[in-house]
Symmetry: C2
Subunit: 362 residues, 2 copies
């Protein structure tokens, strides 16, 4: 049962609990609707107040919706003629997809107020560029950030920026600290998140000038709603010594990918070590549930969904190579952030930023 | 039996095989001679052609040498009045320790030709600064690099810079590629090492301008003795897709520390997972040798020793918090590099650099 397509302005279906309407780029990721639609079905089971506007190839989406009756009943399908290829350069994507692509239409639906957030598993660079053009940065924020949720031994922390803005800039780092703290409050309910600036060497005077300046500002300004804890190093992230780790996009992306790579490397070492002796293989079989739990904890699909912060609208990026389970995680993250009123909270925090006048900021 | 102190210019003891003379900062690290001297004794067992000049507090060194008769027989002790504190800033260290510190004297001994390389577990920033002042950069190299040996699923690779030069610079990146390739040839015997530039996203046009420029130069110049493989991402390091990973010091240091932290985090997850059920604990006991091998592979002490490349003399930095076993690894790395004639090879490679004229380099 595919619901008749409704315009973005139509009323959401009547439900007992306030619905949360999300805008979905159905063509994103390596498998498009065949991964996205089952992912929505999974998310809907866990978050029954979700409703969806899906953008993309109508025939493909409706076909994918056929086995998911409940999902179809809370979804509207909007045809978009263009799907942005996963390998398109951002400028190409903007040229070919502005107005008519599923990605653009999904973003524009958030801009016009038709949905509270959008989720896309599409090309990161294209999504970032289109999101900036379509939604624009919030007042006072020059460069939005891509924030990742990072597992730690104590739980989870937020690391930003992991690739949206390259190059370090004092004001930018301070802004990211405030954005990250707002997200930590909204997603994890931490009233005054501990914030650290990623740097190299805590005891010596070294590292970039801009990082030191940002540290001084965070220390002296005493922004409400965050506790500045000073510099942290790469090995402090996983130890969970802070709730928010702030850095610029190049080093943040390298840290994220290096951690993912190290996790995969250790898993491979483990397999190689275990394959060596019968005794080790037997031990592994016995301890297998523990390993699966371990692998799950480090599985990028389970922590799927980076968030673009600082735009006039919430944009959640899911891994392109993810499966339905991974996409569902990203959708649930969107759900949690809308439920916790992240956009309004960020807007409130950003007003604090306006007081910031940094003569020396670039 | 403590050997009578001999001047740096005295002949090394007669041995059947050509000796390799190293200059040792005996006061470096958290435990000074009590860690350094036993470390030398361990290294001497594995590399019997080593001989040492030790610099530091004579009484403390001679006391530490007492139980190590063989080591004492191949060691000369040189009194140095000052020990650089582990938390001294580089400028402080230079003020207080130039001329009279164990660190400076050990470096100066290499400068004057008394030893082929120096090993210190002291303060990294101080060592770096003193090394630059004392040994100076090789002709054609503005900024020396700190190179780390990084374990991969295929073996080991070299990552540089991991903290000596902060801020990205095209010419610097190209120089580091050549230095890293020379080290790879000398340490691992790889004739034409595969070299990658660390970047974010391989398929999109993003990342820093300087990284792209360096990539173009490496691609078009076709330097002899290295194969340029293009950009690599953080998760490619541990996969061993290249033999040398080139980046600037800030992101390199963050990558290194993040990988170390992730390894520790996974070990902790594993302990937590395993503690949960009797079955998992039993499995762990059976598979324990495999885990120990795994832990060893990721143990920073076993891969202890970063190398300052690009100076007129070899300087090996051992972790400050290491133990005798870890210090021995750093000493053995020094041994291997001297035996393989790294300084001369680097000098030869650097002559290729002189042809480099980068109008657009900063």
């Amino acid at each position: 049962m595919v619901a008749a397509p409704r315009g973005p302005d139509a009323d959401p279906p009547t439900m007992t609990r306030a619905t949360i309407r999300l805008s979905i780029d159905a063509m994103g990721g390596d498998h498009g609707p065949d991964m996205v639609v089952p992912g929505l079905a999974v998310a809907l089971v866990r978050c029954p107040e979700l409703t969806f506007d899906l953008f993309g190839d109508r025939a493909a989406i409706e076909r994918a919706l056929l086995p998911h009756q409940r999902l179809a009943a809370v979804s509207s399908v909007h045809h978009a003629a263009v799907a942005i290829p996963m390998d398109a350069k951002p400028s190409q994507a903007l040229r070919m997809g502005r107005r008519d692509s599923s990605m653009w239409r999904a973003l524009d639906h958030v801009r016009s107020g038709g949905a509270m957030a959008t989720v896309s598993a599409g090309n990161t660079g294209a999504l970032m560029t289109m999101a900036k053009v379509c939604l624009r940065g919030m007042e006072g924020i020059d460069r939005p950030a891509l924030a990742a949720i990072w597992p730690t031994v104590r739980g989870e922390c937020i690391v930003l920026d992991v690739g949206a803005s390259i190059g370090v800039d004092t004001r930018n780092l301070v802004t990211h600290a405030l954005l990250g703290a707002a997200m930590s409050r909204a997603v994890f309910g931490i009233e005054a998140p501990r914030v650290g600036l990623l740097n190299i060497g805590v005891e010596e005077v070294k590292g970039l000038e801009e990082v030191r300046e940002a540290g001084q500002i965070l220390r002296t300004r005493n922004f409400p709603g965050l506790r500045y804890e000073g510099f942290v190093e790469g090995d402090d992230i996983g130890r969970g010594v802070v709730d928010v780790v702030v850095t610029e996009g190049f080093s943040g992306n390298i840290a994220l990918k290096t951690a993912e790579g190290t996790a995969r490397q250790l898993a491979q070492y483990l397999r190689m070590s275990i394959g060596r002796t019968l005794r080790a293989r037997l031990g592994y079989l016995l301890a297998k549930p523990a390993f699966i739990r371990l692998r799950d904890k480090m599985d990028p699909r389970k922590i799927n969904g980076a968030v673009f912060l600082g735009l006039n609208g919430l944009v959640i990026k899911s891994h392109g190579g993810t499966d339905a389970e991974g996409f569902a995680s990203a959708v649930e993250l969107a759900h949690d952030m809308v439920r916790n009123d992240l956009p309004r909270r960020i807007a409130a925090d950003v007003s604090a930023l306006k007081e910031l006048e940094l003569a020396d900021a670039s």
